[in-house]
Amino acid sequence: MKQPLTLKINGENRLLLVEPFYSLLDCLRDEARLTGSKKGCDEGDCGACTVLLDGKPVTSCLVLAHSAHDAEITTIEGLADVDGLSPVQKAFVEHGGLQCGFCIPGLIMSATGFLQANPEPTEEDVRFAIGGNLCRCTGYNRVVEAIMAAAAEMRESA
Protein backbone atom coordinates (compact mmCIF):
# COMPACT_ATOMS: atom_id res chain seq x y z
CA MET A 1 0.00 0.00 0.00
CA LYS A 2 1.19 3.48 -0.75
CA GLN A 3 2.46 5.33 2.28
CA PRO A 4 2.98 9.04 2.87
CA LEU A 5 6.54 10.21 2.36
CA THR A 6 7.92 13.72 2.52
CA LEU A 7 10.95 14.25 0.33
CA LYS A 8 12.98 17.42 -0.01
CA ILE A 9 13.40 17.71 -3.75
CA ASN A 10 15.18 20.69 -5.28
CA GLY A 11 14.77 22.66 -2.05
CA GLU A 12 11.04 22.03 -1.77
CA ASN A 13 9.30 19.64 0.65
CA ARG A 14 6.98 17.39 -1.35
CA LEU A 15 4.40 15.19 0.37
CA LEU A 16 3.97 12.09 -1.77
CA LEU A 17 2.20 8.74 -1.57
CA VAL A 18 4.79 6.10 -2.33
CA GLU A 19 4.83 2.29 -2.38
CA PRO A 20 7.37 0.87 0.10
CA PHE A 21 9.14 -0.97 -2.71
CA TYR A 22 9.51 2.04 -4.99
CA SER A 23 12.95 3.17 -6.01
CA LEU A 24 13.74 6.85 -5.67
CA LEU A 25 13.74 7.01 -9.48
CA ASP A 26 10.19 5.62 -9.77
CA CYS A 27 9.11 7.96 -7.00
CA LEU A 28 10.60 11.00 -8.73
CA ARG A 29 9.16 10.12 -12.12
CA ASP A 30 5.75 8.65 -11.25
CA GLU A 31 4.79 10.42 -8.01
CA ALA A 32 6.70 13.72 -8.05
CA ARG A 33 6.23 13.95 -11.86
CA LEU A 34 9.83 14.92 -12.40
CA THR A 35 10.72 12.99 -15.53
CA GLY A 36 14.09 14.58 -16.22
CA SER A 37 15.83 11.67 -14.47
CA LYS A 38 15.77 8.85 -17.01
CA LYS A 39 15.23 5.13 -16.58
CA GLY A 40 17.81 3.41 -18.77
CA CYS A 41 18.75 0.04 -17.29
CA ASP A 42 17.10 0.09 -13.83
CA GLU A 43 20.15 -1.86 -12.59
CA GLY A 44 22.56 0.91 -11.62
CA ASP A 45 24.73 0.34 -14.70
CA CYS A 46 23.91 3.21 -17.05
CA GLY A 47 23.79 6.32 -14.83
CA ALA A 48 20.87 7.93 -16.71
CA CYS A 49 18.94 8.16 -13.42
CA THR A 50 21.73 9.99 -11.54
CA VAL A 51 20.55 12.53 -8.96
CA LEU A 52 22.38 14.18 -6.06
CA LEU A 53 21.69 12.93 -2.53
CA ASP A 54 23.14 15.49 -0.13
CA GLY A 55 25.34 16.68 -2.99
CA LYS A 56 26.65 13.22 -3.94
CA PRO A 57 25.80 11.58 -7.26
CA VAL A 58 23.85 8.34 -6.86
CA THR A 59 21.93 6.06 -9.23
CA SER A 60 18.39 6.74 -8.04
CA CYS A 61 17.15 3.39 -9.40
CA LEU A 62 19.10 1.66 -6.60
CA VAL A 63 17.83 3.85 -3.74
CA LEU A 64 14.75 2.85 -1.75
CA ALA A 65 12.52 5.93 -1.98
CA HIS A 66 11.47 5.76 1.66
CA SER A 67 15.10 5.71 2.80
CA ALA A 68 15.68 9.17 1.31
CA HIS A 69 13.37 11.07 3.67
CA ASP A 70 16.19 12.91 5.42
CA ALA A 71 18.25 13.79 2.34
CA GLU A 72 18.47 16.85 0.13
CA ILE A 73 17.60 15.52 -3.31
CA THR A 74 18.67 17.46 -6.39
CA THR A 75 17.44 16.47 -9.84
CA ILE A 76 18.17 17.94 -13.26
CA GLU A 77 15.04 20.10 -12.83
CA GLY A 78 16.68 21.77 -9.83
CA LEU A 79 19.81 23.10 -11.54
CA ALA A 80 18.54 26.08 -13.51
CA ASP A 81 17.39 29.11 -11.53
CA VAL A 82 15.89 32.52 -12.32
CA ASP A 83 19.23 33.56 -13.85
CA GLY A 84 19.09 30.67 -16.31
CA LEU A 85 21.00 27.45 -16.80
CA SER A 86 23.69 26.26 -14.39
CA PRO A 87 27.34 26.56 -15.51
CA VAL A 88 27.46 22.83 -16.32
CA GLN A 89 24.23 22.99 -18.33
CA LYS A 90 25.49 26.05 -20.23
CA ALA A 91 28.79 24.37 -21.02
CA PHE A 92 27.02 21.26 -22.39
CA VAL A 93 24.99 23.54 -24.71
CA GLU A 94 27.98 25.60 -25.80
CA HIS A 95 30.21 22.59 -26.48
CA GLY A 96 27.52 20.48 -28.13
CA GLY A 97 27.94 17.90 -25.38
CA LEU A 98 25.04 15.77 -26.50
CA GLN A 99 23.74 13.64 -29.31
CA CYS A 100 20.38 11.94 -28.68
CA GLY A 101 20.28 13.47 -25.20
CA PHE A 102 18.91 10.57 -23.17
CA CYS A 103 22.01 10.20 -20.98
CA ILE A 104 22.58 13.94 -20.55
CA PRO A 105 20.54 14.62 -17.38
CA GLY A 106 22.53 11.88 -15.66
CA LEU A 107 25.83 13.13 -17.04
CA ILE A 108 25.07 16.69 -15.96
CA MET A 109 24.16 15.53 -12.45
CA SER A 110 27.36 13.48 -12.20
CA ALA A 111 29.40 16.43 -13.44
CA THR A 112 27.64 18.85 -11.08
CA GLY A 113 28.28 16.69 -8.01
CA PHE A 114 31.84 16.02 -9.12
CA LEU A 115 32.77 19.68 -9.73
CA GLN A 116 31.33 20.78 -6.40
CA ALA A 117 33.86 18.50 -4.67
CA ASN A 118 36.68 18.80 -7.24
CA PRO A 119 36.94 22.34 -8.65
CA GLU A 120 40.30 21.77 -10.38
CA PRO A 121 40.05 18.42 -12.14
CA THR A 122 42.34 16.97 -14.77
CA GLU A 123 40.77 15.47 -17.88
CA GLU A 124 41.58 12.01 -16.43
CA ASP A 125 39.68 12.93 -13.25
CA VAL A 126 36.66 13.94 -15.34
CA ARG A 127 36.69 10.70 -17.34
CA PHE A 128 36.91 8.72 -14.07
CA ALA A 129 34.06 10.75 -12.56
CA ILE A 130 31.69 9.98 -15.46
CA GLY A 131 32.72 6.31 -15.72
CA GLY A 132 29.28 5.37 -14.36
CA ASN A 133 27.41 7.20 -17.12
CA LEU A 134 26.88 5.38 -20.39
CA CYS A 135 26.25 7.28 -23.62
CA ARG A 136 24.99 4.88 -26.29
CA CYS A 137 25.81 7.50 -28.94
CA THR A 138 29.39 7.39 -27.56
CA GLY A 139 29.58 11.16 -27.57
CA TYR A 140 32.01 11.38 -24.68
CA ASN A 141 34.67 13.77 -26.00
CA ARG A 142 32.47 16.84 -26.15
CA VAL A 143 30.97 15.94 -22.79
CA VAL A 144 34.47 15.89 -21.30
CA GLU A 145 35.28 19.21 -23.02
CA ALA A 146 32.09 20.70 -21.62
CA ILE A 147 32.85 19.57 -18.07
CA MET A 148 36.41 20.93 -18.27
CA ALA A 149 35.01 24.24 -19.58
CA ALA A 150 32.40 24.35 -16.82
CA ALA A 151 35.13 23.78 -14.23
CA ALA A 152 37.13 26.72 -15.62
CA GLU A 153 34.04 28.93 -15.76
CA MET A 154 33.06 28.06 -12.19
CA ARG A 155 36.59 28.82 -10.93
CA GLU A 156 36.55 32.22 -12.67
CA SER A 157 33.17 33.25 -11.30
CA ALA A 158 33.86 31.89 -7.81
Partner: protein, 305 residues
Amino acid sequence: MARFDYLEPHSLDEALRLLAEGGDNTRLVAGSTDFLVRWRTGVWRPDSVVCMQHVPGLDYITWNPDDGLSIGALATVQDIEQSDEVRNRYPALAAGATAFAGVQVRNLATVAGNICNASPAGDTLPALLAYNAQCRIVGTGGERWLPLDEVFVGPGRTALESGEILTEIRLPAPAENTGGLYIKHSPRGAMDISAVGVASVVSLNADGACASARIALGAVAPTPVRAYGAEGRLVSQTLDAANIAEAGRLAAQSCSPIADVRSGADYRREMVRVLTERTLSHAVATAGNPPSYDDIRRLAVQTAW
Protein backbone atom coordinates in the same frame (compact mmCIF):
# COMPACT_ATOMS: atom_id res chain seq x y z
CA MET B 1 5.18 -8.22 -8.72
CA ALA B 2 6.39 -9.25 -5.26
CA ARG B 3 5.84 -6.51 -2.73
CA PHE B 4 7.68 -5.86 0.50
CA ASP B 5 7.33 -3.66 3.54
CA TYR B 6 9.95 -1.06 4.35
CA LEU B 7 11.22 -1.13 7.94
CA GLU B 8 13.57 1.52 9.27
CA PRO B 9 15.33 0.91 12.59
CA HIS B 10 17.08 3.77 14.34
CA SER B 11 19.35 1.70 16.55
CA LEU B 12 21.27 -1.55 16.25
CA ASP B 13 19.05 -3.14 18.91
CA GLU B 14 15.95 -2.20 16.96
CA ALA B 15 17.49 -3.63 13.78
CA LEU B 16 18.28 -6.91 15.57
CA ARG B 17 14.75 -7.08 16.92
CA LEU B 18 13.16 -6.46 13.50
CA LEU B 19 15.38 -9.13 11.96
CA ALA B 20 14.49 -11.62 14.69
CA GLU B 21 10.77 -10.91 14.32
CA GLY B 22 10.84 -11.17 10.54
CA GLY B 23 12.89 -14.36 10.38
CA ASP B 24 14.05 -15.62 7.02
CA ASN B 25 11.48 -13.59 5.08
CA THR B 26 13.23 -10.38 6.07
CA ARG B 27 16.26 -8.98 4.30
CA LEU B 28 18.72 -6.50 5.75
CA VAL B 29 20.01 -3.82 3.37
CA ALA B 30 22.54 -1.01 3.73
CA GLY B 31 23.12 0.76 0.38
CA SER B 32 20.48 -1.50 -1.28
CA THR B 33 22.50 -1.55 -4.54
CA ASP B 34 22.43 -5.33 -4.78
CA PHE B 35 19.00 -5.68 -3.26
CA LEU B 36 16.79 -3.74 -5.66
CA VAL B 37 18.36 -5.39 -8.71
CA ARG B 38 17.87 -8.90 -7.30
CA TRP B 39 14.35 -8.06 -6.17
CA ARG B 40 13.36 -6.80 -9.63
CA THR B 41 14.60 -9.99 -11.26
CA GLY B 42 12.72 -12.08 -8.68
CA VAL B 43 15.82 -13.68 -7.14
CA TRP B 44 15.05 -12.19 -3.73
CA ARG B 45 11.41 -11.97 -2.61
CA PRO B 46 11.37 -10.88 1.03
CA ASP B 47 8.19 -9.84 2.84
CA SER B 48 10.03 -6.97 4.46
CA VAL B 49 13.26 -5.06 4.15
CA VAL B 50 15.15 -3.72 7.16
CA CYS B 51 17.08 -0.65 5.97
CA MET B 52 20.18 0.05 8.09
CA GLN B 53 20.89 3.51 6.67
CA HIS B 54 19.42 5.46 9.58
CA VAL B 55 21.14 3.55 12.36
CA PRO B 56 23.49 6.20 13.76
CA GLY B 57 27.20 5.79 14.42
CA LEU B 58 28.06 3.06 11.90
CA ASP B 59 29.55 5.10 9.05
CA TYR B 60 33.03 5.51 10.54
CA ILE B 61 36.47 4.74 9.16
CA THR B 62 39.09 5.10 11.90
CA TRP B 63 42.73 4.16 12.18
CA ASN B 64 45.05 3.72 15.13
CA PRO B 65 48.25 1.72 15.56
CA ASP B 66 46.71 -0.77 18.02
CA ASP B 67 43.48 -1.69 16.28
CA GLY B 68 44.47 -0.87 12.72
CA LEU B 69 41.66 0.22 10.41
CA SER B 70 38.08 -0.03 11.65
CA ILE B 71 35.34 0.21 9.03
CA GLY B 72 31.77 0.67 10.27
CA ALA B 73 28.99 -1.23 8.55
CA LEU B 74 27.65 1.92 6.87
CA ALA B 75 30.98 3.25 5.53
CA THR B 76 30.59 3.39 1.77
CA VAL B 77 33.01 2.17 -0.86
CA GLN B 78 33.45 5.83 -1.84
CA ASP B 79 34.39 6.70 1.77
CA ILE B 80 37.11 4.01 1.51
CA GLU B 81 38.24 5.26 -1.89
CA GLN B 82 38.58 8.81 -0.58
CA SER B 83 40.24 7.94 2.75
CA ASP B 84 43.87 9.06 3.08
CA GLU B 85 44.46 6.39 5.74
CA VAL B 86 43.31 3.73 3.31
CA ARG B 87 45.31 5.13 0.39
CA ASN B 88 48.50 5.39 2.46
CA ARG B 89 48.31 2.29 4.63
CA TYR B 90 46.08 -0.11 2.66
CA PRO B 91 46.70 0.75 -1.02
CA ALA B 92 45.35 -2.60 -2.25
CA LEU B 93 42.01 -1.77 -0.62
CA ALA B 94 42.07 1.72 -2.13
CA ALA B 95 42.64 0.02 -5.51
CA GLY B 96 39.70 -2.32 -4.91
CA ALA B 97 37.48 0.63 -4.06
CA THR B 98 38.56 2.65 -7.09
CA ALA B 99 37.90 -0.35 -9.36
CA PHE B 100 34.41 -0.75 -7.89
CA ALA B 101 31.50 0.12 -10.24
CA GLY B 102 31.15 3.90 -10.74
CA VAL B 103 30.96 6.78 -8.31
CA GLN B 104 27.14 6.73 -8.16
CA VAL B 105 27.16 3.14 -6.92
CA ARG B 106 30.22 3.67 -4.67
CA ASN B 107 28.34 6.50 -2.94
CA LEU B 108 25.61 4.01 -1.95
CA ALA B 109 27.31 0.62 -1.62
CA THR B 110 28.95 -0.29 1.67
CA VAL B 111 32.01 -2.44 2.28
CA ALA B 112 29.98 -4.52 4.75
CA GLY B 113 27.34 -5.04 2.07
CA ASN B 114 29.98 -6.12 -0.43
CA ILE B 115 31.04 -8.78 2.10
CA CYS B 116 27.49 -9.92 2.89
CA ASN B 117 26.59 -10.12 -0.80
CA ALA B 118 29.48 -12.63 -0.99
CA SER B 119 29.96 -12.46 -4.72
CA PRO B 120 33.17 -14.22 -5.78
CA ALA B 121 33.82 -11.10 -7.90
CA GLY B 122 33.26 -8.41 -5.24
CA ASP B 123 35.97 -5.84 -5.88
CA THR B 124 36.79 -4.95 -2.27
CA LEU B 125 36.97 -8.58 -1.15
CA PRO B 126 40.42 -9.80 -2.32
CA ALA B 127 42.12 -6.78 -0.69
CA LEU B 128 40.15 -7.25 2.53
CA LEU B 129 41.29 -10.90 2.59
CA ALA B 130 44.88 -9.91 1.86
CA TYR B 131 44.86 -7.46 4.78
CA ASN B 132 43.55 -10.20 7.09
CA ALA B 133 40.17 -8.57 7.73
CA GLN B 134 38.27 -9.57 10.87
CA CYS B 135 34.49 -9.22 11.01
CA ARG B 136 32.44 -8.20 14.04
CA ILE B 137 29.12 -10.01 13.87
CA VAL B 138 26.35 -9.06 16.27
CA GLY B 139 23.22 -11.03 17.12
CA THR B 140 20.64 -10.84 19.86
CA GLY B 141 22.83 -13.20 21.93
CA GLY B 142 25.95 -11.03 21.73
CA GLU B 143 28.84 -10.54 19.35
CA ARG B 144 31.52 -12.71 17.78
CA TRP B 145 34.56 -12.04 15.63
CA LEU B 146 35.21 -14.11 12.53
CA PRO B 147 38.14 -13.92 10.09
CA LEU B 148 36.84 -12.83 6.69
CA ASP B 149 37.92 -16.03 4.93
CA GLU B 150 35.62 -17.96 7.29
CA VAL B 151 32.72 -15.62 6.46
CA PHE B 152 32.51 -16.75 2.83
CA VAL B 153 30.96 -20.19 2.49
CA GLY B 154 29.73 -20.15 -1.12
CA PRO B 155 28.56 -17.87 -3.92
CA GLY B 156 26.19 -15.40 -2.22
CA ARG B 157 26.41 -17.34 1.05
CA THR B 158 28.05 -16.29 4.31
CA ALA B 159 28.56 -17.79 7.76
CA LEU B 160 26.21 -15.16 9.23
CA GLU B 161 23.28 -16.84 10.87
CA SER B 162 19.70 -15.70 10.62
CA GLY B 163 19.27 -12.54 12.69
CA GLU B 164 22.96 -11.61 12.74
CA ILE B 165 24.39 -8.32 11.48
CA LEU B 166 27.94 -7.56 10.32
CA THR B 167 28.68 -4.29 12.15
CA GLU B 168 32.41 -3.70 11.69
CA ILE B 169 35.38 -4.81 9.63
CA ARG B 170 38.82 -4.47 11.13
CA LEU B 171 42.12 -4.63 9.27
CA PRO B 172 45.19 -5.08 11.51
CA ALA B 173 47.87 -2.40 11.20
CA PRO B 174 50.34 -3.46 8.48
CA ALA B 175 53.99 -4.03 9.43
CA GLU B 176 56.38 -1.21 8.61
CA ASN B 177 57.70 -2.33 5.23
CA THR B 178 54.47 -3.36 3.61
CA GLY B 179 53.26 -2.87 0.05
CA GLY B 180 50.14 -3.99 -1.77
CA LEU B 181 48.02 -3.72 -4.87
CA TYR B 182 44.74 -5.04 -6.28
CA ILE B 183 44.28 -5.37 -10.02
CA LYS B 184 40.88 -5.94 -11.57
CA HIS B 185 40.81 -7.43 -15.04
CA SER B 186 37.60 -6.84 -16.99
CA PRO B 187 36.47 -6.10 -20.53
CA ARG B 188 35.40 -2.52 -19.68
CA GLY B 189 37.18 -0.02 -17.48
CA ALA B 190 34.10 1.08 -15.53
CA MET B 191 30.80 -0.48 -14.45
CA ASP B 192 31.94 -4.00 -15.23
CA ILE B 193 32.22 -7.16 -13.16
CA SER B 194 35.70 -8.58 -12.67
CA ALA B 195 36.71 -11.44 -14.90
CA VAL B 196 39.61 -11.87 -12.50
CA GLY B 197 40.82 -9.80 -9.54
CA VAL B 198 44.02 -10.34 -7.58
CA ALA B 199 45.26 -8.60 -4.43
CA SER B 200 48.76 -9.08 -3.03
CA VAL B 201 50.12 -7.66 0.21
CA VAL B 202 53.75 -8.32 1.24
CA SER B 203 55.83 -7.24 4.22
CA LEU B 204 59.60 -7.22 3.98
CA ASN B 205 62.24 -7.72 6.67
CA ALA B 206 65.06 -5.20 7.10
CA ASP B 207 67.27 -7.43 4.90
CA GLY B 208 64.66 -7.36 2.13
CA ALA B 209 63.46 -10.95 2.59
CA CYS B 210 59.74 -11.65 2.71
CA ALA B 211 58.32 -11.52 6.26
CA SER B 212 54.78 -12.26 5.16
CA ALA B 213 52.85 -12.51 1.91
CA ARG B 214 49.11 -12.69 1.43
CA ILE B 215 47.57 -13.20 -2.00
CA ALA B 216 43.81 -13.25 -2.57
CA LEU B 217 41.95 -14.09 -5.76
CA GLY B 218 38.55 -12.88 -6.95
CA ALA B 219 36.15 -14.40 -9.52
CA VAL B 220 38.10 -17.64 -9.90
CA ALA B 221 36.44 -19.84 -7.25
CA PRO B 222 33.00 -20.11 -5.56
CA THR B 223 34.19 -17.46 -3.09
CA PRO B 224 37.08 -15.00 -2.99
CA VAL B 225 40.02 -17.16 -1.87
CA ARG B 226 43.52 -16.89 -0.45
CA ALA B 227 46.33 -18.51 -2.47
CA TYR B 228 47.94 -20.14 0.55
CA GLY B 229 50.34 -22.31 -1.46
CA ALA B 230 51.80 -19.33 -3.28
CA GLU B 231 52.03 -17.33 -0.06
CA GLY B 232 53.92 -20.15 1.70
CA ARG B 233 56.41 -20.37 -1.15
CA LEU B 234 57.42 -16.71 -0.62
CA VAL B 235 57.90 -16.44 3.14
CA SER B 236 61.58 -15.96 4.12
CA GLN B 237 62.54 -15.82 0.45
CA THR B 238 64.04 -12.97 -1.51
CA LEU B 239 61.23 -11.66 -3.70
CA ASP B 240 63.14 -11.82 -6.97
CA ALA B 241 61.64 -12.45 -10.40
CA ALA B 242 62.05 -16.24 -10.17
CA ASN B 243 60.27 -16.54 -6.84
CA ILE B 244 57.50 -14.17 -7.91
CA ALA B 245 57.01 -16.18 -11.11
CA GLU B 246 56.79 -19.39 -9.07
CA ALA B 247 54.18 -17.77 -6.78
CA GLY B 248 52.19 -16.81 -9.89
CA ARG B 249 52.23 -20.43 -11.08
CA LEU B 250 51.17 -21.75 -7.67
CA ALA B 251 48.35 -19.21 -7.39
CA ALA B 252 47.08 -20.21 -10.85
CA GLN B 253 47.15 -23.89 -9.85
CA SER B 254 45.24 -23.22 -6.64
CA CYS B 255 42.13 -21.61 -8.14
CA SER B 256 39.07 -23.28 -9.65
CA PRO B 257 37.64 -20.88 -12.23
CA ILE B 258 34.50 -21.42 -14.27
CA ALA B 259 33.88 -20.37 -17.86
CA ASP B 260 31.15 -17.78 -18.33
CA VAL B 261 30.27 -14.75 -20.43
CA ARG B 262 33.23 -12.80 -19.04
CA SER B 263 36.02 -15.35 -19.57
CA GLY B 264 36.98 -18.90 -20.29
CA ALA B 265 38.32 -20.95 -17.38
CA ASP B 266 41.81 -21.37 -18.87
CA TYR B 267 42.04 -17.66 -19.58
CA ARG B 268 41.04 -16.85 -16.01
CA ARG B 269 43.68 -19.22 -14.68
CA GLU B 270 46.37 -17.71 -16.87
CA MET B 271 45.35 -14.19 -15.79
CA VAL B 272 45.64 -15.25 -12.15
CA ARG B 273 49.28 -16.11 -12.88
CA VAL B 274 49.90 -12.79 -14.65
CA LEU B 275 48.11 -10.61 -12.10
CA THR B 276 49.68 -12.39 -9.14
CA GLU B 277 53.10 -11.58 -10.60
CA ARG B 278 52.12 -7.97 -11.32
CA THR B 279 50.59 -7.29 -7.93
CA LEU B 280 53.49 -8.98 -6.09
CA SER B 281 56.11 -7.03 -8.08
CA HIS B 282 54.30 -3.78 -7.37
CA ALA B 283 53.91 -4.65 -3.69
CA VAL B 284 57.64 -5.31 -3.36
CA ALA B 285 58.57 -2.15 -5.27
CA THR B 286 56.32 0.06 -3.13
CA ALA B 287 56.85 -1.60 0.28
CA GLY B 288 57.05 1.17 2.87
CA ASN B 289 56.54 3.79 0.18
CA PRO B 290 52.89 3.84 -0.93
CA PRO B 291 52.06 4.87 -4.48
CA SER B 292 50.15 8.07 -5.24
CA TYR B 293 46.38 7.94 -5.62
CA ASP B 294 46.77 8.62 -9.35
CA ASP B 295 49.05 5.58 -9.66
CA ILE B 296 46.65 3.40 -7.68
CA ARG B 297 43.73 4.47 -9.89
CA ARG B 298 45.73 3.95 -13.08
CA LEU B 299 46.85 0.45 -12.06
CA ALA B 300 43.66 -0.79 -10.38
CA VAL B 301 41.73 -1.62 -13.54
CA GLN B 302 43.48 -3.36 -16.43
CA THR B 303 41.08 -4.01 -19.27
CA ALA B 304 41.12 -6.78 -21.81
CA TRP B 305 41.98 -4.43 -24.67
